[in-house]
């Protein structure tokens, strides 16, 4: 019982960090060809003419195609989440045929004997466009006179949700705070770019892809291309990060299969970073109006939210569902009488948006935690005190929120207590007061974020009620080999998280075998036939539980055999440290001995199938709800606008911890990503719809050098909704940190009359905001 909870080094790492691994781009198959895509340089245009003929005459070129050449067979890229009755799901050809709707959309391709020749030959393709007006601003896009992205108009869907009497909550409310926040567009920047290889032997196909979702991909590709599901094998080799960007069915994956089929040879495509910035689905991009009604003492009456969510040009796999994942989170950890949520999805001529670490929940948490600070200022309370007055107290769990979710467990008091102690809250407040007093050009701000999130996606029935196209279960099989070693097959396909290590720890404890004796397989539909893959902080809370349940079944089978061999009744056996013993006598059999006995099958209970393995599929009853308190201290130089995070404390409650090292890694990476949104990153399109942030010199990702030493700690309130007591940690850091940072910046500047700084809070923006409130010329 010691593996779960221990800081095991990851089994994956030796291979990964010494380069002895296989990324999709490393895969070489005999006769392989390389694909390069010609992409639209225009945000919106009609394709008048394409001639790929000249490209076909270039050296090394085997074939060149335009969208027209695949018009009959390429189908439409799938959207699996038709969120509402009124949702408009436009046709989305993998290669554009008649019209392009964002810069970077594929219009033609060259297939050549190496990737250099393929890239060179693109220039020979002749293409003529007739430019159409770009549609960039969401509010403008919804006006009657706006040019249309699609014939059906620019409104993708409307979606409403509410509970309680919102009008009553706002009527005569002593305090109302009404704010609009901009969730800028972000570009998920996985370390490994997208890459895909497709091969066929005639009627069977193998697709290798740097994907988070081999199982979902297989189903969707079968439906899209017509390749029968049982003739299609999808393999996700080692995958270097995704953050949601590889939770997708991409044009390049569909086309790889079609090209392999058309040419009868394996094909490979790997994106470049700048190609990726344009064409990997983007994240966030919402305009959030949030109003809170409260009593004078700060107690919340109700919250109203109205979102415009930029879909980009098409609805991809779960595009329209992303803002709605936030719909149940705008109330956070707080109690109130009424809640009202509305969201309009809007088409624009930009890269489609979709899941990005946190997916809907960071957006919700940001608006809520920002507005809580505004309310605190309005009613004259310390932001932590305001939160205390409103949060669900630990003795009130399980608690059904105004958004109709039942939070099973939590202890906001404990996490906050711990965080304020580690942070030195009172001391920093004193320093802040002193700097204000002295009119120090460098002001100190303190930002608070007491977040929760829903993860462990998801109870299948809930997904069904939200019109999502699939369930939220996860599958695992566990098999004992004759020599007593264990093979685990998981349906949750990792892309950097460390599943192999964590699953080994769970199995080691459950079966009483050494950690080293467990091997975990994943990411290949021929090896792992069933799965729902990795996203939404679900792997441990759903997939890990499935592993545990499969172990329990294996153990029960082993118990039968042990009882038979020991001539005892199964109930008289106790299992500890890998052995079944007859209570009282001490006679026993190790699980390894039992494995061998099962393999030999010489002497088994009547009717016992000689196999010590089991499958389990876990469909959670409820989401899990990690929470925590994050505190951030920032120095803001009011002369230059430069800000510097001085200290950052994150106390998270992710339930039971299987591996503290992995949890720590997830928290650190998550913080980096959330801070990146607050301070650094933004995808910028110009007035013509050209993406300006195509390189890392323009899309500023922070590195370790730009981030403070994080102080992290945990409280541990086990989830009651699953037998491991785990909640998930993949997104927590990202969700919590963005508002903590921006709250700190606004807090630093509040005495100057600043109430908001739009993200990312760049030095220039801070400087202009200050110049604006000073009334001076910028």
């Amino acid at each position: 019982m010691t593996e779960v909870g221990s800081a095991r080094r990851r089994k994956e790492d030796a291979r990964l960090i010494t380069g002895r691994t296989q990324w999709t781009d490393n895969i070489q198959l005999p006769g392989m060809l390389y694909v390069a895509y010609l992409r639209s340089p225009m945000a919106h245009a009609r394709i008048v003419r394409v001639d790929t003929g000249p490209a076909r005459r270039e050296p090394g070129v085997v074939a060149a195609f335009s969208g027209r050449d695949f018009a009959q067979e390429q189908g439409s890229l799938p959207c699996a989440w038709p969120v509402s009755e009124d949702v408009v799901i436009p046709d989305h050809p993998p290669m554009a045929v008649h019209e392009v709707r964002y810069v970077g959309e594929a219009v033609a391709c060259v297939v050549a004997t190496d990737r250099y020749k393929a890239a060179d030959a693109l220039a020979a393709i002749e293409i003529e466009y007739e430019e159409l007006p770009a549609v960039l601003d969401m509010a403008e896009a919804l006006t009657d006179t706006a040019p249309k992205v699609h014939e059906a108009g620019n409104r993708a869907f409307t979606w409403r949700f509410g509970n309680g009497d919102i009008d009553a909550a706002f009527r005569d409310a002593p305090v109302v705070v009404d704010r609009t926040y901009v969730q800028q567009r972000l570009i998920p920047s996985a370390m490994e770019p997208r890459a895909v290889v497709a091969a066929t032997d005639g009627d069977a196909f193998t697709l290798y892809s740097a994907t988070q979702i081999p199982h979902i991909l297989r189903v969707m590709l079968a439906l899209t291309t017509g390749i029968p599901e049982h003739r299609l094998r999808v393999i996700a080799p080692d995958v270097g990060g995704g953050f949601g960007s590889k939770l997708q069915v991409t044009a390049e994956e569909v086309l790889a299969l079609l090209l392999a089929r058309r040419l009868g040879r394996p094909v490979k495509w790997t994106e470049s970073r700048s190609e990726g910035n344009m064409t990997v689905h983007h994240g966030r991009d919402q305009l959030q109006r949030i109003s809170v009604a409260a009593e004078r003492d700060g107690r919340l009456r109700g919250i109203k939210v109205d979102l415009l969510a930029d879909m980009g040009a098409y609805l991809m796999l779960v595009t329209p569902g992303i803002p709605l994942l936030g719909a149940f989170m705008y109330n956070g950890i707080y109690k109130m009488d009424a809640y009202d949520f509305g969201c309009t999805g809007v088409f624009t001529t930009k890269m489609p948006t979709d899941a990005y670490r946190g997916a809907g929940r960071p957006e919700a948490t940001y608006a809520l935690e920002r507005v809580m600070d505004e309310l605190a200022a309005e009613v004259g309370l310390d932001p932590l005190e305001l939160r205390r007055r409103n949060w669900i107290r630990h003795e009130e769990f399980p608690y059904t929120t105004i958004a109709n979710l039942t939070y099973d467990s939590g202890n906001y008091e404990a996490a906050t207590e711990r965080a304020t102690t580690l942070f030195g809250y009172d001391k920093l407040r004193a320093e802040q007061a002193d700097r204000r007093e002295r009119r120090d050009p460098v002001q100190l701000g303190i930002g608070v974020s007491t977040y929760t999130e829903m993860c462990g996606l998801a109870p299948s029935r809930v997904l069904g009620s939200l019109s999502y196209g699939a369930g939220g279960w996860e599958h695992a099989s566990v098999r004992m080999l004759p020599t007593g070693k264990v093979e685990v097959v998981t349906g949750s396909s990792p892309h950097g998280q460390g599943h192999v290590t964590a699953w080994s720890q769970i199995v080691a404890d459950a079966l009483g075998v050494p950690f080293e004796d467990v091997s975990v397989m994943h990411g290949d539909t021929a090896v792992s036939p069933r799965g729902m893959d990795t996203y939404g902080s679900r792997s441990l809370a759903v997939g890990g539980v499935a592993v545990l349940q499969a172990c329990d079944k294996v153990k029960e089978k082993a118990r039968q055999v042990a009882a038979h061999l020991l001539e005892a009744s199964p109930e008289d056996l106790e299992f500890a440290e890998g052995s079944f013993r007859v209570r009282g006598t001490g006679a026993g059999r190790s699980i390894q001995e039992i494995a061998l006995a099962v393999f030999a099958a010489h002497d088994l209970p009547d009717g016992f199938e000689p196999a010590l393995d089991a499958d389990a599929t876990f469909d959670p009853e409820n989401f899990s709800y990690p929470h925590g308190t994050h505190l951030c201290a920032i120095e803001v130089d009011t002369e230059t606008g430069q800000s510097r995070i001085r200290s950052y404390v994150a106390v998270d409650d992710v339930g039971k911890v299987v591996n503290p090292l992995i949890v720590e890694g997830q928290v650190h990476g998550g913080l980096a990503q959330g801070i990146a949104q607050a301070l650094f990153e933004e995808a910028v399109y110009d007035a013509d719809g050209n993406l300006l942030t195509t390189t890392m010199a323009d899309y500023l990702m922070p590195t370790a050098a730009d981030l403070p030493d994080f102080v992290t700690d945990r409280t541990e309130t086990p989830a009651t909704s699953n037998p491991l007591g785990v909640k998930g940690v993949g997104e927590a850091g990202t969700i919590a940190s963005t508002p903590a940072v921006v709250n700190a910046i606004v807090d630093a500047l509040r005495p100057h009359g600043v109430h908001d700084v739009r993200m990312p809070c760049t030095p220039e923006r801070i400087w202009r905001t200050l110049a604006g409130v000073r009334g001076g010329a910028a």
Binding site: Y116, A119, E639, V684, T693, L700, T703, E764
Partner: protein, 293 residues
Amino acid sequence: MIPAAFDYVRPESLAEACEALADAGEDAKVLAGGQSLLPLLRLRLSFPSTLVDVGRLTELHDIRDGGDHVFIGAGATHYDVVRSPLVNAACPLVALAAATVADPAVRHRGTFGGALAHADPAGDLPAVAVALDCVFTARSANGEREIPAAEFFVDYLEPALAPDEILTGIRVPKLGPGWGYHYEKFHRTAQSWAIVGVAAAVRRSNGVVEEARIGLTNMGPTPLRARGVEDALRGAGIHPAAPDDGGADPIRDACGEAAAGSSPPSDLHAQPDYRRHLARALTHRAVRAAARA
């Protein structure tokens, strides 16, 4: 991204390199550390016919004492420069600025000469070269010539080098005793280029600035020398007056003209008015830091 096709030669001597460059014609390019050129090739913003790789020319790597100056070979890497005892002792401003270039990986590959020959006004070294009145030496098959820093930076990414010329090194004058130095770089992430940078060398005595040299990074298509500020600083008292005495601050006042005559770019990181503001604020900081040294 994938660069377009090009020819590649890697000469073993400077003489050979000059020949190769002359033979390859107008569209050939010198390749040093590749930290600026390769990104341009990969983004297909540059299409040289031939690359002449000077990376193997050990004769370009020297950093040596020239008496009244330090000679830094064009092929010395940023890392070589940053840790050179000679540079740190005799012309520390160069080391201070080079230490802010990019990240350790880039500093180990990128060269001092490459950073200057690239003539990027956002680079950290050009402003230093201008502030210190460095002298550039260039070699072609026709011989060697010297180019003063004030004439070297012709325009954005355009050095005063003929297509067949190789930058061999830079003479950095020793300013002598009594000088203090500072390079103030303002950027958003540790790895990114300066939004604005200020290189300052200040000689002080008896509480006043006697002489100052100031170069500006990224305030126009070429690095700039803030001569107006240099003039205004001459004789300026270093310590501001107490608030009770009116709070006069001659250094701050002198730096108020730092952006005069500049034409800063507009890009995703900053608009010109903000850059002008930064030039003033950072020049003040740089001068103060240098004067304290």
